[in-house]
Each structure stands twice: as structure tokens, then as C-alpha cells.
Symmetry: C2
Subunit: 149 residues, 2 copies
């Protein structure tokens, strides 16, 4: 074990994580192009499909993104007609993001995406579950997620 071994790319854990994330995002592109969404826009829409509406803070916490990323992204989604942006009447600081009809309808086309991606990533069910658990353990700051199925 040489002094500089810890600086070799092949000994990093973060590097394959970084590379993998990008490679998978790239695989999404042709699928998401059909929906007129980028990957980041897609995960924002996923949150909205599930929760119907959200403010920027909530969305940011769920997606690990800040307003610097979300503000322009949400304007883009609005310009595409997928969401509406309006201030909360009770607390004008909050921006309420809601799906439009067009945004809701997009969900129908989007259901084809996850199965297509699954085909690109050739992991066994066990490996996928393992990966999932370890990633959430990292995201939760070292605490186990408890999921086993």
C-alpha cells in the first residue's frame, strides 16, 4: 500500500457513484425527450404527480435541490405548460406549484419510462435492493433505512 494509493481513481467510492449517476441520467435522455422533460424536470414532476402541489422549499427538500436550481426550472416547467406557479394567499412568501391538466396528463406517457430504464440497468433484484438500501443509508447520514424488501 503506497502513500498515494488513496488518491487513485479506482480506490474511490464517490467516483463510480458520480459516474454512474451521470451515465444513468444519460440513458434517460431519449426517453424523457419524448415527454419534453429533462431529468431534473422529470423528478420534479414525479413529486408533483404524487403530491399534487408543493412549494419550492418542500420540493427542494424532497429533491435535494435549492431555489437556485428550482426557481428557473419551475419557470421552464410553467412555460412548457406543465405547472402553474402562484403565491400562497395566506403567506405570500410561499410559491405554490400546481400541476396543470397537461401536466397531469403527462403522467400517462411517463409510466413507460421506469420499465425502459430498468432494462438498461442489469442488476439482480437483490443487488438493486442492496444498492437502494446503501444509498439511502448514505443519504440519511449513516442511519440504516430499515427497508429489506
Amino acid at each position: 500500500m503506497e502513500k498515494y494509493d488513496c488518491l487513485k481513481l479506482e480506490n474511490q467510492l464517490c467516483f463510480p457513484l458520480y459516474a454512474c449517476s451521470k451515465e444513468i441520467t444519460r440513458k434517460y435522455k431519449p426517453l424523457l425527450d419524448k415527454l419534453d422533460l429533462t431529468y431534473t424536470q422529470y423528478i420534479a414532476m414525479m413529486f408533483l404527480w404524487e403530491h399534487k402541489e408543493a412549494n419550492v422549499k418542500t420540493l427542494g427538500e424532497a429533491l435535494f435541490l435549492d431555489s437556485g436550481t428550482l426557481s428557473p426550472l419551475l419557470k421552464t416547467l410553467e412555460s412548457k405548460g406543465f405547472v402553474e406557479r402562484e403565491r400562497n394567499k395566506q403567506d405570500e412568501r410561499n410559491l405554490v406549484i400546481k400541476l396543470t391538466k397537461k401536466g397531469e396528463n403527462l403522467r400517462e406517457k411517463a409510466v413507460d419510462v421506469p420499465p425502459s430504464i430498468a432494462k438498461c440497468v442489469n442488476l439482480s433484484a437483490n443487488e438493486a435492493q442492496m444498492l437502494y438500501n446503501i444509498l439511502y443509508k448514505i443519504l440519511n447520514g449513516g442511519k440504516d433505512s430499515g427497508k429489506n424488501n
Copy 2:
């Protein structure tokens, strides 16, 4: 199992991968600030510390980056005095990137980074190895890496 369950964020594998990658990169920032490097510049330097020199193509294949990202990044590294950029005399299409003395010396300070990051990511040795293997399996297109230690 509802029709739209596959579109829930919590059922995605790519999302925690994407979020995890970003969160860990964020943890690098204060450490890399001391070296005057960004994360992407850091992995480029890692390759150069190990291989002494490289052209853009080689670097791009190793880092999963294209010339659109690397060209400006390498100019930045040059402006910081860490690398030299010169055309290969035998084949002027190739740009040869070499470490400067300052770039080589930075390696001494960089050896402190990996141990500091390891402390931030609370995984068991077994989990880390598992994660490593699965990520490379994905990067290699579904073929197992064969590494077990």
C-alpha cells in the same frame, strides 16, 4: 400495487443515486476549497497524479466526460498553474496535458482528502465494497467486476 407506483420517487433507484452523488460532492467542497479545486478538477488531477500525462480523449474516457466539459476545465487548471497544455508534435490533433511542479506538489495536500471523506460516509467495509462492486457493474454495462476484496 397501483398503476402509478413506478413513478414514485421512493421507488426509483436512479434518484438516490443522483442525490447521493450530489450530496457527497457537496461534502468534498470545503476540503477541495483548500486545494483550490472543484470536484471535477479534483478527479482530473487524480488521473494525472497517477498517469503523469494524458490527452483529452484518454481523460474523457477515464472520467466519463466529453471535450465540452474538459476543454474549459483544463484551461482553468492551466490558469491555476496545475497543468500545462501543449499539442502533440507527432499528431497535432492531440492535446497533451501534463502536471506542472505546482500540480505535482498539490498531491501532498490532497492525501488528506480521502480519509476526511471516508469519515463523512458511515458505511461498513462490507457495505462500501458491495456498493463499489454494484456501481462498477452498472458502469460496465451489467457485467460483474469480479472484485471481492
